[in-house]
Every structure is written in structure tokens, then in C-alpha cells.
Symmetry: C2
Subunit: 247 residues, 2 copies
Amino acid sequence: MNTAPLIAEIAGLVGEPARASMLTALLDGRALTAGELAYAARVTPPTASMHLAKLAEARLIAPLKTGRHRYFRLASPRVAQMLEGIMAVAIDERPRYRPLSPLARELRSARVCYDHLAGRLSVALADCLARRGYVLLDEEGAEVTPNGAQFLAGFGIDLFTVGTRRRRFCRSCLDWTERRPHIGGAVGAALASRCFELGWTERKRDSRAVMVTAAGRKGFLETFGVALDEPSAAGPAQRVIGSSAAR
Amino acid sequence: MNTAPLIAEIAGLVGEPARASMLTALLDGRALTAGELAYAARVTPPTASMHLAKLAEARLIAPLKTGRHRYFRLASPRVAQMLEGIMAVAIDERPRYRPLSPLARELRSARVCYDHLAGRLSVALADCLARRGYVLLDEEGAEVTPNGAQFLAGFGIDLFTVGTRRRRFCRSCLDWTERRPHIGGAVGAALASRCFELGWTERKRDSRAVMVTAAGRKGFLETFGVALDEPSAAGPAQRVIGSSAAR
DNA sequence: CGAAAACTTCCACCGCCGCGGAAGCGTTCG
DNA sequence: CGAACGCTTCCGCGGCGGTGGAAGTTTTCG
């Protein structure tokens, strides 16, 4: 009945730097060992163990014991969405980030957000789909149009197998670097999955960053009209996204 | 670049029982005075003042000074959505509430959630709209169909004035008592607003609870086919929602 | 103009919790 | 079978921060 203690309990768990670091590290959807999470949070194994026990107790993360390792992953997409929601508030009305570290550039360019793509790449894809009338998108929600369903089918995504009960739904997810909505939910997850399947994108080790392969650069341009500048030399492209577009 | 500290800062602010109580008290969208919030959080004015200063500093709440009172309201709908998201995680995989206090019954029956309706009433409305094909609804999102837009226009809601840029979007909001999605976002806000305008619902003083008037009981039945049992005697209705439907 | 009300600032108290070292337990190797 | 590894439990330390009392500031009312 009284909801405040429930909210305080969850938020209190997240509101601790070490635990927040662990949850953030798990935001890419992968399962990490207790040791890796301890390293990510910059604490010793005993401290990490205590934090992990608390997070697991509250069902924010799910343990997965394998041999002498203990893996942890986010308990559910809902937890990832909650973290997104907190992040959306955190970046609201806040001065823009001034420095751009090399690692931050990578993350800003393309990364994974639990199960879907985020960063410039994802926003560009969302823009393309919206421009062509394949999805309707704003900060409140997103919807795949009939034309969009056909287009996605051609790309290898069957919307009827994505959502078990309903079709056509995707979730609008506020990108915390671009501050603009992109496509999440089941459709976003399927889109990301298909990109990895096609070899267009590859996960970077121990990071949420995503690298676009040469095939991906070609594919994103031909299929979505999205041009990404290469790290070395940026060719003359129609719509260049990347570090050179930063202001 | 490193997002964990940002998340931890916001979550840490929310993760304090007194502050969580204040934010929860503001979840009905109204502005409350510092004294009222102190009472809601069960702390003395000095303590409340400190908490409010921190929440305002982080832009979670917005101060509104009027005479010798200082009013506070949630800074933005985004904050309300964040709290919803935390609540959705908090009630996830948790044993059902066993006791049902009289006040909890009222809240469960009908209440406001920032700017839209929540509780049994809202879920029943959402069910009606979904059953008639006026909206498509699941946990990821919601969409108003053309038929739905026409129906809502007849009810006095012009979707083109609701959303400034886009139309047809509403947000799916997980109800924390019913554990089912209902209609939020701009459409949900307009729906709630129209119910109050018609005199179908009335806010209870100093509570998020909403009372359905006699006119409302008639209107909800005729327009939406939703029958609400009266507090005193429940008549034979087609679809009874309320305490008697609890199991 | 003086008193009351609403809120804030200052201050000292203290309890909670994050922390790491040491030791214990289970697993996986050579 | 013993040693190394990964993780947990136990323990005492230390500090951050929530707390209310007292006093100060601003506004309203008689």
C-alpha cells in the first residue's frame, strides 16, 4: 500500500557508486563474474560479494553459478529500463559534457543498451526509419507502420515472431548521449540481433562499445542510407555521423 | 562518459525513505508546501528543508515560492516516469500484498499517477479500449487506432491538439497494483483531464485516491461499458471491478 | 508595528553502512 | 592429493549523512 519504502529500497540499492557501477557494467546484457564486477566497481572481492548479495536479494540481478565462477546478469529487461529511466533524468537539464575521452567517443558512436543498439548509429537508424515512414517515433512511444513491417521483413526480421502476442510494438528509448529517442523493445532487440547476425556490427571486448565492420558500413549505407565515417579517413558521404559531426 | 556516478547520484537521492516519501507524495502531480512534505515524510521541518534542497539541486523537484509558503512539484514528467520504472521493478517477483487497509482499497480502486488515471478504473478503461480495437496495448507501448481516434474525439479528446508534433501516441504505464499496463502519456493525461472536466471523477483531498461520482458511474458504464460497484451496495453489473473482484 | 507562521541555516550527535584484511569453503587444476 | 583460484563470511574500523533542537530570516496578519 505505501509505495515509498519500496521505491526507497530499490533506489537505495542503485544509489551506491559501487553497485551502480556493477549494474552499469551489466547494462550490455552479458553476464559477468563476481571478480569482473568487483574490478568494474573498483572494490575488493569481499566488498563486491556483499553488494552482489544485496542486489541478488532484491532481484535486481540474477546469479548463474558455473564451476568456481559465479556469473551475474540483470534480472530482467525491466531492470535495464529502470536504469534507462534514471539515466534519462540524470542527463536532463544538465550541462553538456565538455571533454571527449577516446573511450567516450567509441561509446557515443555505437554501443549496446541491454539488448538493442544505442548511440549515434541507433539514432541514425531510427531517423532513417522515421524519415521513410517505416516507424512513427517520439519520446512517448514508437510504432511500426505496415510499410515498415514489410521493410523489416526484407531485412530479415519477422515482426510476428518477435512479439509473441502483439505485433508492431517497439519501445522508444531515450539515448543518453544523443538525447534523442531511438528504437528499443522487442523490435530494437531484433534489429540489433540481426545486425550482429549479418556481421555488420561486432561487440568490443569488455565494453558496451560496438564496432561497425566494413560490411556493416556498406550495409548501413545501402540499406538505411546511413553513412558512418571510418576511424582513419572519412570519405565524402551523404549523411556522415561520427566524431566529425560533433559540435 | 562514465554513467555510473550519474545514476548513483539520482538513485541515491531517491533511495532515502524520507525523500522517497516526498517524491511519492508529489506523484499525483500537485504542488505541496515544504510543511506538507515534511509531514508526509514524517520528519521535522529542518530535516525536510535539507532534503528538499537536495532534491531541488538535482532538478528532481521544482520550487514554486508563493508568499510565505514554498511549493514543490516534480520537475518533469520524466521524473514521474522514472519513479514508475523503479516501482515496476520493486513489485516485480514480489509476494502479493496480503492485508488490504481501507486506504489501500481506495488507492487500488482509482488514483492519479502524475497526470493520468491508475488503479482498477484505469486498467478497466484500457481493457475496454483494447477490446473494442480503439488502442493496441502491451507492456512495451500503446497506440491509438483510427477508430480509437474517432471514438476519443466523440468523447471530447482531440488527439491533434494533445500531441503537438505527433499524433496517436500514448504511453503504456505498468500499474503497480494491478500489475497490468494502462494508458499514460499525453493520451492518458487527456483522458484523465476529460473525466475530471465531465465531473465523472473527483480528487480526494490530500491523497492520490480518486472518487468516481454518480455521474461518472453512469458515464463509465454507458460510454466504456465499465461497471464500478458502489461503496455501499453493489448492483448487478456486467463487469464489476472493485474490492469484490479481488481474489 | 509587533506577533505569529513558514521556512531555512547552523550545530552537535550518532547510527548505519561501505570498506578491506584475514580466514574459511568449494572447485579446478597439475 | 595438495596447491592455486574464486568467492564468501566474519570482523573491526571509519566516515558520510540523516536527525532534531535552537536560532535566524522573511512574510502575513491583527
